[in-house]
Symmetry: C2
Subunit: 418 residues, 2 copies
C-alpha cells in the first residue's frame, strides 16, 4: 500500500473514532488512561526490549549522546510516564463545559459549549515519553490522535502504540483513537499535512527545520513555535538582588530548553553596579558571555557580540548581554529580535512594569520572575502539549483546554427570524 | 513597483501601525470610527461618483443584476454604513479584558489578557459596504487591516480608503492602520497569502472558488467557511406547527444566504401528516422541491432528488427533502452531507434534543429555532466579520472578540524555578 493511501485510511479511521470520543464521558476516558498505565507496567520488559533495539541502532548511526539519552527508556523513566498519566487523569475534563450562556430579547437561550477539536496529528522527535504524553492529553480532551514520532524511536513507539490500543479496547473505546504511523520518512509527514477534512490540527515539536517544513506544506491549521529567544530586561529601578537570582535561574537552571534566557538587557544606569558580580557568577557556572561594547568595557572577559548573537537561540550555556539606554530601547530590541515566546522585566517601578506587560508582544510576559515559568504546569494549566507563539487559537502554553474548541448551542421555543 | 514588493511594504506598514493600535484606548478608536462616519457624510458626492464609475463598468462587462445591485451605493445605503459604524462604536471593546486571574502556590499571579491579533487581511467580493464594516471591526479590536476587495468595486473602495485614512489622521492614528490594495488581480492575493511574520490572519469572504484558492495557497492562518449546507430535522415528537414555521422561515425568508436551509429531513412517522401542507406552502412561495422516493410518493409534484442534491448549497428557492427512519438516520445524513455550519432539530422530546445538540458537529446547533439565527448579531455578539466552520480559534460567527487573542501576564515577586 502506498503511503498516501495508508495515511488516508488512518485519518478516516481517526475521524470515525473521534465521533465516538466526542461524547465519551470523563470516567471512561480516565479508565482508558488507567489501562494504559497498567499496560506500561504489564509490558515493561517487552517495551524495554523494543527500546533497546532503538538505542542500539542509534548508537550504530552515531547519534549524539544527548539524543541517545533522550531516547533511552529505563524502569524509572517508564514509572515517570505512568506518573504523568495519573496527572492527566487528575486534571479536569474541559469537554462539555458551558462557560457562558445568555438570553436574547426574543427568548433564545444561547450558550457556548466546549467540544473536542476532532483529530490531532503530532509530528515530533525521538523522545518516546512524548508518545504517551501527547496521546494522553489528546484522549482526555476527547480527540483522536495520529502520532508520527522520529525514526530513531520507531520500535519503542510501535510497542507503545500496541499497549495503548489494547488499553482502549479494554474499556470499549475504538482502537483507532490512538494510532502510530509506522512509516518514518518525510512522505508520511507530507501525507498527514494534506488531510484537510480529516485532521483538524497538526502540532509539530522538534527542531526549527522540521517545524518550518510542516508550516510550509500544511493545508491544515498548525500550532507551533519556531524558537524561544527570551530576554530579561533589568531596569534601573530593579531590585538588583532579585534581578541576579532571576537572570541566573533563567539562564542556568536548564539552558537547553525554549524558555531559557538567551539575551540579558541591562539599563545603563545600573550596568556598572550589576554586571561585574552577575557576569562573574555566570562565568563561574560555565556560561560564555557575548557582550555589546559597553558590556565588554565593564567586563573585559566577555567576547564581543556580533549581529548574529542577538537573534540567536543558543540552547546552551551562552548568553548575549546588551546595555540599553532605557526601557524603550529594551522593548525595541525585543520587538526586533524576540520570538514572541517569553519576556521578562525586573523592576520595582509600577508604571514601567505595566508598560512592559502591555506593549511587549510575547505569549508570556512576566514581571520579576524567571523566564522558566512559561510552562503549562508552572502556570497552572496542568500538563502541556506544547507552546504556541502564533496568535490564532492559542498563544502560549497549550493544555487540555487548548485541545478543544467551542460550538454554539441554542435553545428555542419556535423562534423564527423577521 | 512589482506587486510582491508593494504588498510587502503595505504589510510592514500595517505591522508598525498595529503596534500603535494595540495600546490605543477605546475612546480614540471610537473617535476614529466617528470620523469615518463623518467622512462618509462629507464626501458623499465624490463617493457616489466613484461608485457610479464602478457600476457603469460593471454594466459594460455584463455583470448579473444581483451583482450590480450589491455593488450600487445610494444615499440610503451610505446612511446604512454610517449606522453600522455607530453600532460598532456602541459595542464593548474586548482588548485589555482579563477574563481570569489566579495565583500559583509560589505566589505568582497569572492572568490572561485579551490583545489584538495584529494585522488582518480581508479578501472579499464586490460589495463596497463590506469595506467599511470589516475595517470598523478590525480597528475596534485594535488590529491593522489590509483590504483587498473585488475589481468591480475598486473605484468605490479606493474612495472609501481615502475617507478612512483622513479619519485616522484626524484622531492621530497611523493612516496605515487601514489600507486598500489597489491591484485587483490574483497575484495581489497570492502575495498577501505569503506574508508570514507580518499578517496574522486572512479572512476570505466570497464564492467557494475564492475561498479554496486562499486556503490552498495561504502560509498564514485562514478563518473561513466554504458553504452552508444547513438542515432542519423534523422529529416525530415535533410540534408540527412550530416545525412548519421554522422550516418555512429557514428556507424562504432569505434564500440566498449561507444560513438558509438547503435540506429538510422528516421523520417517517410524521411525514404523511407534515409534508403535504408544508410542501404546498413551499410550492406557493415558489420553492422547487427535490424529494427522496418517499417524499415524491407523498407529494407527487416534487422532482426526484439525485445524489447531487444532498450536498448542494442552492442559495436559491430550491429545497431537498428526505424522509428518514429516525434521529440517527438524520444525524448520519447531516454528518455525511452537512458543512459544519448550522443544524436544527425540531422536537419536544428532551432526550433527543440533547442527543442532537451534543452529537451534531456544526458551529451552531439549534433546538426549535430557525437556521437563520446563525449570525453574530442574532446570537448577541454584535456585528460579525464572518462565520468560521473550521474549529481552530473560532467556530461559528466571529465578532470583535474573535478578532483578538490572549496572552499570559505574570506578576512575580522575584520567583525562580527549582
Amino acid at each position: 500500500m502506498n503511503i498516501k493511501k495508508e495515511i488516508l485510511t488512518m485519518a478516516e479511521e481517526a475521524k470515525k473514532a473521534a465521533q465516538i470520543l466526542a461524547t465519551t464521558n470523563t470516567t471512561v476516558k480516565n479508565n482508558a488512561l488507567k489501562e494504559i498505565a497498567q499496560g506500561l507496567k504489564d509490558n515493561l520488559s517487552s517495551l524495554l526490549e523494543a527500546n533497546a533495539k532503538d538505542v542500539t541502532q542509534a548508537k550504530e548511526k552515531g547519534l549524539s549522546k544527548a539524543m541517545i539519552d533522550r531516547l533511552t527508556l529505563t524502569e524509572t523513566r517508564v514509572q515517570g510516564m505512568i506518573n504523568n498519566l495519573y496527572e492527566v487523569i487528575s486534571l479536569p475534563d474541559p469537554v462539555g463545559n458551558v462557560a457562558k450562556m445568555w438570553q436574547r430579547p426574543n427568548g433564545l437561550k444561547v450558550g457556548k459549549i466546549r467540544i473536542p477539536l476532532g483529530v490531532i496529528a503530532m509530528v515530533y522527535e525521538a523522545r518516546p515519553d512524548a508518545t504517551i504524553e501527547a496521546a494522553a492529553l489528546c484522549l482526555k480532551a476527547g480527540n483522536s490522535v495520529i502520532l508520527r514520532g522520529g525514526s530513531e524511536a520507531i520500535n519503542s513507539n510501535l510497542c507503545l502504540g500496541k499497549i495503548m490500543r489494547e488499553a482502549l479496547d479494554k474499556v470499549g473505546l475504538p482502537q483507532k483513537a490512538i494510532q502510530v504511523v509506522s512509516t518514518t520518512n518525510r512522505e508520511a509527514v507530507l501525507a498527514l499535512l494534506e488531510m484537510e477534512g480529516y485532521i483538524d490540527l497538526i502540532i509539530p515539536r522538534g527542531g526549527e527545520g522540521l517545524i518550518r517544513f510542516v508550516s510550509e506544506h500544511a493545508k491544515i491549521p498548525v500550532l507551533k513555535h519556531y524558537k524561544g529567544v527570551c530576554h530579561v530586561y533589568v531596569d534601573d529601578k530593579a531590585d538588583l538582588k532579585k534581578a541576579e537570582e532571576i537572570c541566573f535561574n533563567a539562564k542556568v537552571q536548564r539552558p537547553g530548553v525554549c524558555n531559557a534566557m538567551e539575551t540579558m538587557l541591562v539599563h545603563e544606569q545600573v550596568a556598572k553596579n550589576f554586571l561585574p558580580s552577575m557576569l562573574k557568577r555566570f562565568k563561574e557556572a560555565g556560561v560564555e558571555i557575548r557582550g555589546c561594547p559597553k558590556t565588554c568595557a565593564i567586563f573585559p572577559e566577555a567576547k564581543p557580540a556580533t549581529e548574529e548573537d542577538w537573534p540567536a537561540e543558543y540552547l546552551d550555556l551562552t548568553l548575549a548581554v546588551k546595555v540599553v539606554a532605557n526601557i524603550n530601547e529594551a522593548m525595541e530590541h525585543i520587538a526586533k529580535y524576540g520570538s514572541n515566546h517569553t519576556e521578562v522585566i525586573v523592576t520595582e517601578d509600577y508604571t514601567r512594569a505595566w508598560q512592559f506587560l502591555e506593549r511587549v508582544d510575547a505569549s508570556v510576559v512576566l514581571v520579576n520572575a524567571s523566564t522558566r515559568f512559561n510552562d503549562g504546569n508552572q502556570l497552572g494549566l496542568g500538563a502541556e502539549i506544547g507552546i504556541s507563539t502564533s496568535k490564532l487559537h492559542a498563544y502560549g502554553p497549550m493544555g487540555l483546554e487548548e485541545l478543544t474548541t467551542t460550538k454554539f448551542i441554542v435553545f428555542g421555543q419556535g423562534q423564527i427570524r423577521n
